[in-house]
Amino acid sequence: MSIDAAVRRLIFLKFIQTYEFVLLDYKKMNRSVPQIGEILRAKNKTNICLGVALTVIVNAMPSHAQEAGDAANGEAVFKKCKACHQVGPEARNRVGPQLNEILGRSAGSLDGFKYSKSMIDAGADGLVWDEATLDAFLQKPKSVVPKTKMSFAGLRKQSDRDDMIAYLKTFSDSEAAKATSSAPDMSEIDPEILAIEGDAEFGAYLSTECTTCHQLDGSNTGIPTITHWPIEDFVIAMHAYKNKTRAHPVMQMTAARLSNEEIAALAAYFKDVN
């Protein structure tokens, strides 16, 4: 069993590493591109991965080597992630899991974070985050983990992904964890607003306006999940829509008429729903 898992993991890695320039070849040839996600979703993962991986390894020219990224630049790129993820000494799970020691971590394995079933299954199937798997995931998250809760389209530029991984690496060696924290900026929110205790029963009623689109069981099939968020993150996000500093016309309109108490009520309800 463990040998089988090890073989599958090895094949998976080779597959991910070679996928990208195979993709370029396919594009050059103007042929339909095989999707990583489709292959991973296939029932008989081992055999299909074996077959495809061997095929691509044979066909592919080993020309692309992973570039070493620039961690300082990666810190800037990481701003796109900070609404949901923390990394550094004070990092905690927020909307997304904290990212210390992410390199080498098995997917969906952090205690205390409610992952999508899809992510947990990927971990159980042997997905471990390393440079190659993170690179593929950051390029197009849903192609690697189809129903991940992460609502992020992906980083298109290879250099951005390299830099981001280099930045995350600096937090993946416990000795080297730096004294910089990436806690979200809360200075724009009045502490009194954050301190409002939400009326969860009122929130349950108000939530019915949300559940026409957002699924209560946390599924994300095109509309992000809003369950089990830390209260502060929920409140900050809703106020950002209300103040129109966060883009999305439906959410801006919905948040526009929510009072501070109503936002607190929704945050309280959704945090512990089910």
Partner: protein
Amino acid sequence: MKLNRRTFMGTVAATTSALAAPMVMAAGHGRPKVVVVGGGAGGATAARYLAKDSKGEIDVTLIEPTRAYYTCFFSNLYIGGFRDINSIGHTYGTLASIGINVVHDWAVGVDRDAKTVSLAGGGTVPYDKLVLSPGIDFVEGAVEGWDLSAQNAMPHAYKAGSQSELLRAQIMAMPQGGTFAMVAPPNPYRCPPGPYERVSMVAHLLRETNPTAKIIVADPKEKFSKMGLFQEGWANNYEGMIDWIGSDFGGGNVSVDPGAMTVSIDGEVTKVDACNVIPAMKAGRIAHLAGVTDGNWAPVNAADMSTKADENIYVLGDSSQQGDMPKSGFSANSQAKVCANAIRGALTGSRVFPARFSNTCWSLIDTDNGVKVGATYEATDEKIAKVDGFISATGESAELRKATYEESVGWYDGITADMFG
């Protein structure tokens, strides 16, 4: 009934115990009863929230004739080839499993004094509160030459399911270079962007299978929902294929001949190969039978969707005349939750919160080219009144249009989970 001493004493005892029971419990029959007629976006949602939130305190019956319900929303995507018909079909098993008594029958009468609903299959169902959410029926004689007996030759496809399948099959069977006609409905009608999303989907299908075919739309209106967005999309994606004839050019002066397959628009007769007639609409029949309509629709109070005619009867969705909200599945779902909260409060004493409504309508123009319009609403003494709104812009990036489409797919999963569990 002739009273003897024993039955008289029994009546007194029953009356006394009823007075002693909580006021909200209806006398004589245990748990308060809510009957919901119609299992679509309004009715299924209302039944589900009443059953779920009352935790068994309310006896909920849902009367819906079909065993598999096909949503009207996204049925255009089926016609265009973007969805499988099964992907828009839903059954009522989950609602039954949370304690709702699901009855597959037609409601054919309401006795407002006895507070009972009679069923086509025989028998009556008593209620304390009655929710009617029967969708739409068509106004007789609205399109000259067309009635329900012609719905096979010229489908309306405005109640989804077999009609949608029929229309798609007829479009697929058109000869190369043939003509598809649509007779669009006058206001107000179900799903304002619906006919125009359908035109887009038909054009998409024809572009793939029959690129020299033509589409004629006869419209009794001068303008329509998302008009700028659709016209931009038609010009960019289906150039020269679609001829929209508004009321200014006689689009309202229409008659059809289903036997000869001809459409006459402002006196000009055209032979067509497929024809979609969407007649003028009115509230579903049971709303008229219950006597809660005034003209074509049922006027309701904005705070709780109760009818102006009877405080124990509520009307949701397309059948209601409520004010500013469009007749959409999203609107019906939104109204159902306000209504369920109010009914539960009235019957069990639970907290009742102020009404708030919202709506968003997504439409697909072409592959990965979605647009949307939406608004928020509040209850005033007169009506449901619009608070704020937005609409997609012309000239948006392909990336944004794709994101909007993907969002609509997520919304479909969200609202159907909210309706059917």
